[in-house]
Symmetry: D2
Subunit: 351 residues, 4 copies
């Protein structure tokens, strides 16, 4: 009953087999290899267009370097208050790009185009004291397990473009979003106006594999230098490429994501069906937020369930847990088994 995070799960056998095979070879360093080329082609096919692809090892690296690519002096980045870049990257965006992060509020991890427009309005053009908008960032899926629909992204993109901002997507769990929404990757990204994204594989079956994807390749002319300067250019870059290559092959990535989503849905169903707990939000993929009585929370933990409590500020005031309740996050992964979920459900039902 490990629902702590999808980054507790290992890597799929298919990915490891490919990696092991690659490890027996000798290959040009720093991305001059055939596997890196194959991954570039793989992403181009996936997104139905030419893209510039840069492989890195962590989601924080992908987000930070992708956003810093659009930083300028006095630059301001808008993101949801709960965004990973705002609360879980130790100030990486502030450090790399010298950018200020401005938190936008919004229900269940999502902000609206209107909320963004209102936040941006506080930065009139040419007001050097305040700084200027450079990037709007959204997470897909969000940190609250929900997903933006293409039309919601397009509305946000329109505000971003009107204000001279690039639109960045933190896609640490993008595979889950595609699986959950049943929408083409292109529709969730460049067709909706996304300029750059972090496409994560580490949380869905790889060891450490993240790609920064530029939908306007010309935007990335400085990126190779920026990645190297940040220590994020791997000498054996093929070790990331080999993971992605196997992961993208034959829809393996979607299979892994679909499994995790199914386990997430099974968890959600168990919670929804229980009189002892309730869902905090309708999950779109593999992350499930629930409100539990403290007594039940203690029993579940005693029974061996592993998951994290969550800050109640992420919920609107009128949806927050009561004094004897706790908000928790449960994450399913490609490794999660039905019997784990059912075991958890049984404990839930018992109360």
């Amino acid at each position: 009953m490990i629902f702590a995070s999808d980054n507790w799960a290992g890597a799929s056998d298919k990915v490891m087999t490919a990696l092991t095979a690659a490890a027996r070879s000798t290959r040009p360093a720093y991305g001059g290899d055939d596997l890196s080329r194959a991954v570039e082609r793989g992403f181009a096919e996936l997104f139905e267009r030419e893209v510039a692809v840069f492989l890195v090892g962590t989601g924080t690296a992908a987000n930070t370097l992708g956003i810093a690519n659009y930083a300028r002096p006095g630059g301001v980045v808008f993101c949801h208050r709960d965004a990973h870049i705002n609360v879980d990257e130790a100030g990486a965006s502030e450090f790399f790009g010298g950018t200020k992060l401005v938190a936008v509020e919004g229900r269940h991890g999502k902000y609206t185009a209107e909320a963004l427009a209102e936040a941006v309005a506080r930065f009139p053009q040419g007001a050097v004291h305040h700084g200027r908008p450079v990037v709007a960032s959204i997470s897909e899926i969000t940190e609250f397990g929900t997903a933006y629909r293409p039309e919601e992204i397009a509305a946000i993109a329109a505000v971003a473009k009107r204000n001279g901002m690039a639109l960045h997507m933190d896609g640490a769990r993008f595979a889950g979003a595609v699986a959950g929404l049943g929408v083409a990757p292109a529709d969730l990204t460049w067709r909706a106006g996304v300029d750059v994204m972090s496409f994560g594989a580490s949380k869905t079956g790889c060891l450490a594999a993240e790609a920064v994807i530029f939908f306007n390749p010309a935007d990335s002319r400085d990126f190779g230098f920026a990645r190297q300067r940040a220590g994020h250019g791997f000498s054996k870059a093929w070790f990331i490429a080999a993971q992605f290559d196997a992961w993208l092959d034959g829809g393996h990535w979607l299979d892994l994501a679909r499994h995790a989503n199914r386990m997430g849905a099974r968890l959600a169903q168990a919670i929804g069906a229980s009189r002892n707990a309730r869902l905090a939000a309708e999950p779109s993929a593999n992350e499930v937020f629930a409100i539990l009585p403290r007594s039940l929370d203690a029993k579940l933990k005693a029974a061996g369930a592993v998951y994290h409590p969550w800050g109640i500020e992420s919920l609107p005031e009128d949806e927050r847990p009561g004094p004897d309740e706790v908000l928790v996050r449960l994450v399913a992964s490609f490794q999660t088994r039905e019997d784990e979920v059912d075991d958890f459900a049984a404990h839930l039902a018992r109360g």
Copy 2:
């Protein structure tokens, strides 16, 4: 005949087997796992003392973060002119710590304690305009394939300490140095006065595994935050730990390094024995620098040999290649086979 770099080589079967086993498991993220603990114990044993160990994915990350740990406003870092941190990290040290790198000259990749003292003397204490010494950095083995002896390191450490500097060691090929010198790791590092080192495994049989080792653990109190902020904290940190665990186990790391060194020595012998080429320096490990006639260089490449030319400024003026000659670097790895070297030797002999 691939002698381009040891970072063209894959990873050892033992390492990959261990990694594959680990990938099937579920483990706490961000270093809260058993493998990370095991690697910490492994390094403590290897160095015969308590150390603070931080795993990262690239040598540039290890060097940059290790050095930046000692950065202060106006900080100046001294290193050899050819040091990786000076010429191959895209300005990472300047970017991360805002530090100025001052290049010290020295024959065959090594600088002396005297040369360091002379360079430092240009920064009198309290002269805020000039900046102040914060770190002296040496590479072991050096970028010219040579090695510092413990007493040379101790002399440099004495100058560093007298001037308030930490002593950093870039140990991207430290395994080769230990294997080549036949000296205990402790004698090459903390017993000689090294404060922090980058201990690299990526060039000697791992995929991507580098450790920042602090010999005074208290020095590292900010390092966890610094690593995270730089995007170098891996969620599945066990993927680096698993590599190191297998690599350190049973002296596997030294076996790999010894093989690479033997192949390097075989290359050097072939060059030394040839009338058509000459060694540019006596190699201490797996990197061999040679001076070839341009015509021979062309023939070797046509025959399929892969290696890189090297800047002649790395040699003293009176040792540089003539107008019809070229300085080249040949690197053996754990994957290099005797027959590759012998094939190369045969081509050399043919002229």
Copy 3:
């Protein structure tokens, strides 16, 4: 009727006379001069204790360098949402120290110790992803013209200390606070727990004169280098010292501040007495926030009054202007004349 800002006012004759006299001399550069020493003594006397004094030219420099002095990797700085460092310094704190600014809410420009404690609680110790508290910053007087009382500062300082933070004070208008509260400078600062402050003279009768004051001089060991590296070490540092020397002499600074405060009070009185406008907050010094009908605002401007509108988010929702009203800021300075204020009052009364 210029109430745009106190930084629109020139400099006092006494200050300019001293500066002109100094300009005829030859003096050691970079602070090695007698006037710099005199200013250090002046501040020590003013604060009734040894202090470390560093002169700079702008308030943003003073704030940013003072705060960055306490920055560490992953560092988080807490300040009021309307703080100058948060909204008017173009991201300087993010850039210099790589620090994240976390905005704390609070009525009329002030936050409480409780609000700070709540904000800090989201950063549990050792949580490298979130970052860690390093500085709490308050403005005295605040950006809404109000002042913290010594006991309020002490309560905030207690929270800061408990959480390992330094307490920073933006004293761009500190002279006005001392004049307005009638409290000793020591009571408003180090006796209440302030560690470092920006003591501004530019807004109260000088051209460009700001001092970073460290109440624990040992904290400042890196500051000289940091100032120089930032380009904020003036070669003719005596030009700032000469201003401060004359400004501090004989209570001139308090005379200037008292005049500005009196003019502020006269403005406030006129507004309070008017049926056509109302005060948005009770002013503590020379800044007056008022809510005017839009029609009156237009008439005042047409009559030549100069002042700035202010963002309504600075007020609690139930105190905000109505749809036909506007929130404005009026600032009196040492140059403001009674007849200007009375002229404005007359226009107000007319409606």
Copy 4:
């Protein structure tokens, strides 16, 4: 006999009179004033073309921000080994732009186009590890008191342009160069290929007045934000503008520079005529480098002469002082009197 530096001298009466007059006024803050506009027109006239002008308070700020304007990830800045930006700015360029400074050697403070080309050749295009050339910087006059001729600058500019670099000029003593060479400012700058310069007035009769001049105004679109974020945007920006306005008026700046140069030439003549000392280089303006016997150096100091010793590495090996000699720098200023120089000359003659 104060020849320590021209930044020990105060400010001219004309400048102070103008500043005092301006200080009695009320003026828009942050450069929205008439004096700032007048200075912009003054520079346009001086340079015979449209320019973008940004006022700052220190030479380090001007240099650093001007150079950082062209910084990009992995950016490398080339400058003379003795350049102020390399040895006297506490690592400001490394800090602000994350740029690496590469020192180019050259006799008497000047480097040649050939030396620059050779240094740049070590950074082949697209080599992300090495970084890439972004700026070439020269000082006019140089740190060794010499001056580049327009054709020398044009040759350097050609190398810069061929390699995609902007050409930056540190003109801390540009007035002295114009006065010394008798060449139009335009010929020394944009007509020779300079893109951005620091035009200093602080060393030639002002208190603190430096201008960053962009000869291609479009280059400066980010500069206002960068200046503000660095704390170098003065609220009472007119205090710098008022100095420049008086300084540029009626050729006052050239009068001041010519006087300093005449005093420098008088010093040089005295040294050249002395059997007890010799010139280290032929001065082009107000800085004179001389080699003195140590005994004479001691006597001069005892007699009250104030000047600084200079590092002998600034001279080619065959021109360096002998073991009983010392290299010194003597700087004349607008305040230097003939009788001071003659007094010094008399001491020199006496031996």
